[in-house]
Amino acid sequence: MAVKDEVIKDAKFNLRDEVISAGSKIYPKEEMERFKFCLQCGKCTGGCPSGRRTNWRIRKIFEEVSLGEKEEVFSDEGLWMCTTCYTCQERCPHGIHTTDMVRVIRNLAVKSGHMKEPHRKTCLTFFTYGHAVPINDEMRAVRKKMGMDECPPTIQSSPEGLQEVLTLVEKTGFKKMVEDVKK
């Protein structure tokens, strides 16, 4: 049997469909469906500034998604090397929303337990302060010196605001998902 027949025989479209279906909950379905038009032309990887210096190959990930290679996709270190700069999405000749798809694929990877430790910590910081980067003593002093309120006029001066955000991340199940990720 020719290699291509082997590949086609083994291909499972469940991952591709899962990605399209998850993405369609947020983005317009017709945009997500364009994923099926990918011809593996490589323009995405060709213009990718991260691909020049890392093992991130968006074309490869898209092929693996098409072939249903779930574990390879979700555990690929490269998946987290995309800076979401949108160069590939701007240039895709088939109008595939490539960068948005990367975020959808990352969502599924995280859901299946693949979350990077620094990212888990960023989330915990967000749950604690309402900011991914909160104020610190050095910056309080800088603000004061500049004649500004030491504590920024944001959620940091609003305990009730922080409570609101916590309620939201609990309601969506996000807080639990992050807390359940193994260190």
Partner: protein, 301 residues
Amino acid sequence: MSKYAYFLGCLTPNRYPGIELATKKTLGAFGVEVLDMKGASCCPAPGVIGSFDLLTWLVVAARNISIAEQMNADIMVSCNGCYATLQEANMLLQQNDKLRHEVNEVLKSINREYKGTAKVKHVIEVLNEDVGYGNIQQKLKCPLTGVKVAVHYGCHFLKPSDARKHGSSERPTIIDDFVRALGGESVSYKNKLMCCGAGGGVRANALDVALDFTRDKLDNMIEAGADCLTTPCAFCHFQFDVGQVDLSKNSGKKYELPVVFLTQLLGLAMGLSCDEVGLSNNKTQVQTLINKLSNVQMVKA
């Protein structure tokens, strides 16, 4: 004149309060009313929280937008990440009734509702559309004559272009025109539209990769003879400023290109001092730029 709810995000108030200071001062000078958004949280970051759970990303964004809606004001941002999140959340929630309903169901638990009545604008759009570059030129006391500025647009101000609608993402001019309006020269440099390297959670997860982008950009700016770089994004500003300290430590080569946020550059051209636009707080030196601006002193006499 117009009024805006200033969505500060994280980096602006918590690491670069000078950006907040300069933005409020310069816009105030043109009669734009800038209001604080008490209770506003992280936008949340599009490539971080958005990469983990898009629904949570949208729900928290919708809460932030609802704060401005209650203030009856449109939103202004000084970070491309905040811009991406809030502008896209607005678009997604307005085009999809089912999604808006789902998000509002969650917001009900905190007695809030997303209505979709507030627009989201980047500060450069406010300067271009509400103030006008022509009016800006009338107030310049210290035009940037002879100053070579490397413009870094950042990614999410321009892209995805079908959502942002600022025209070509490969040949933008809005910030180059701004620099020219201030009397400066916008230098062209190799890979000008390339990312700073920080986004998408890369800075947090793989700092060396993020810095490799940054080094590439800085080398190209320096080669073009830039006196400073300017950004419309607090996160890019952070990456370039702190990044130069890291690069100087790691590479042995000294990186010291002044990093100036758009409204800080405007403030300098309006005759404000380095302290008055909050530039003294940068980790990378700015003295070489200040020396170029003969009428500006480090501390106003």
